[in-house]
Symmetry: C2
Subunit: 309 residues, 2 copies
């Protein structure tokens, strides 16, 4: 397997971009990553786009070719990769494989969503297409509702108070203050979280990831490419893995653990030959506080029922 | 780059499957490919799903995990790859890269669409999401309309009569007669094609690919996997490439040539070290007769304006 390096990163601010379309956000992040990489964009041989909602919210599919064209890259190989909330990560995994295969020397990956110019009901409906339309979504179930069930099951199983789980939001907001790309750059207190409106009992508004617009991009390259375009600082992808769980929340044997997170993290750590404690920066999917807490347990950073610590 | 082999293939009949859902069609093809490969399905490490329309027509995204679960494969890495009408081919390309990278030893790829249980207007609207929603589709343009423009431009440029282009449908129907998976297994005459209803002047009904339901799947594996699971007959993927053109039909410098087909075919032939004339079986995208004719020219099987011969 060929080694894979990250040589550029770019992002837009996340927020309500009334003045920018999906393609503009993606192109802005993509070209920022190319500038950051300090390469000629014509060196890119492939573009991977991670996106879930453009079909439902913009009536636009075929984003690979669309964004390649708008970035002035028509001609490259281009693909959209979709895996619900993991679409960006899944696209990065494909870009990694493309370079690791030796087939491509320099590729870009961009994750983009444009959600604020749709009505709330349409956003909720587009998100729940990640659950089972025939057996779950048609009942009117929403993701916040399903995660409320998970939340209750977790509190009941481990005798944990909601305030402890909700602390995850306080922590995440603190991390966002210094991040110029973050949507909300202010700290919140646990009192603010717990007194924010109830969305789906017990989930409070400030325990939910906000709806937003934005894009982030990376440029990846091979060792061969680096030899031709040398640089001092190197970031290598030393492990990348993906996994699934059973499809629906109700099908899981235990709602309070995410088998896919555990499995994928184990595989990536094995590839990288590192232990969880060797990791300095960790980013987990926390659409709702409870998911962040459970993921910390699945990734080996806390015992079962102790992720909130 | 590791060598990649095809060890199994499966498909459903293409047609109107009122009694089968999208997931059932995909699972049927996927498990048929696994049976054909003669392997234990638990050997599969990843599933790639090629699909364009499930979001619009079934309100269902996240097909990678959905189909992995329904095929009894929950746990594997799973992804949906979308590239409009090229979604199946794009998914196959990713599956190829996954094995070529050395990351995966045995993967499945399945292409699936379920279109007949939607109203014609909804099918047309879902297809045109592959064109530019903001600049083209919102005008009411459809793909058959856009290809009618291409058709007229081709006939005008090369002084070719429609009967010559429409012959492509006669040829394709002849090829379908012996194919048990084909949607329409009967020959048609050029008179039937030319007297079929006009859909978008000059395109006639029998010059259009029909709307249908169905799925097709392959199992790919590495040389390592073959060593552990030897077999006599081998099919190797000796070249695989993808490319884009500018996004919209009206942006092309010349509407009568498909730059992406030419570019991708050249790259794949170069990888495989073969010439167009070495190829025994050719399958081209022929949503409309004109596209088949133009593709034959772009792939080097005919001179410009002579693909209809």
């Amino acid at each position: 397997m060929a080694r894979v390096f990250i040589i550029g990163a770019g992002a837009t601010r996340i927020g309500e971009h009334w003045d920018k379309s999906l393609r503009e956000l993606a192109t802005e992040a993509l070209l920022a990553a190319v500038r950051d990489a300090g390469v000629d964009k014509r060196d890119l041989e492939a573009v991977y786009v991670g996106n879930m909602s453009s079909g439902a919210l913009q009536g636009q599919e075929h984003l690979g070719s669309l964004i390649a064209t708008w970035a002035g890259l028509a001609g490259v190989a281009a693909f959209k990769v979709e895996a619900a909330c993991a679409s960006g990560g899944a696209a990065l995994h494909q870009a990694f494989l493309a370079v690791a295969s030796g087939c491509y020397d320099c590729v870009a990956v961009v994750g983009v969503e444009k959600m604020t110019d749709a009505l709330p009901h349409d956003v909720t409906a587009s998100l729940v297409t990640a659950e089972d339309q025939e057996y779950v979504a048609f009942t009117g179930a929403t993701f916040v509702g399903l995660n409320a069930l998970v939340y209750r099951a977790y509190m009941a199983k481990y005798g944990v108070k909601q305030e402890r789980v909700a602390e995850f939001a306080v922590h995440c907001h603190r991390m966002a203050v210094a991040n110029p790309y973050a949507q909300f750059r202010r700290e919140v207190s646990i009192e603010e979280v717990m007194s924010s409106p109830l969305i789906a009992d017990p989930i409070r508004l400030l325990e939910c990831a906000p709806v937003g617009d934005g894009a982030a991009a990376l440029v990846l390259c091979s060792e061969d490419y680096l030899r031709r375009n040398p640089r001092d600082e190197l970031v290598e992808i030393v492990g990348s893995a993906a996994a699934t769980d059973v499809f629906s929340v109700h099908e899981r044997r235990d709602m309070t653990t995410l088998a896919a997170s555990r499995r994928a993290a184990e595989a990536a750590l094995r590839q990288a030959r590192v232990e969880p404690r060797d990791v300095d920066v960790l980013e987990v999917h926390d659409a709702f506080t409870i998911l962040g807490v459970i993921t910390l347990e699945d990734l080996g950073y806390a015992g079962r029922g102790e992720g909130w610590r």
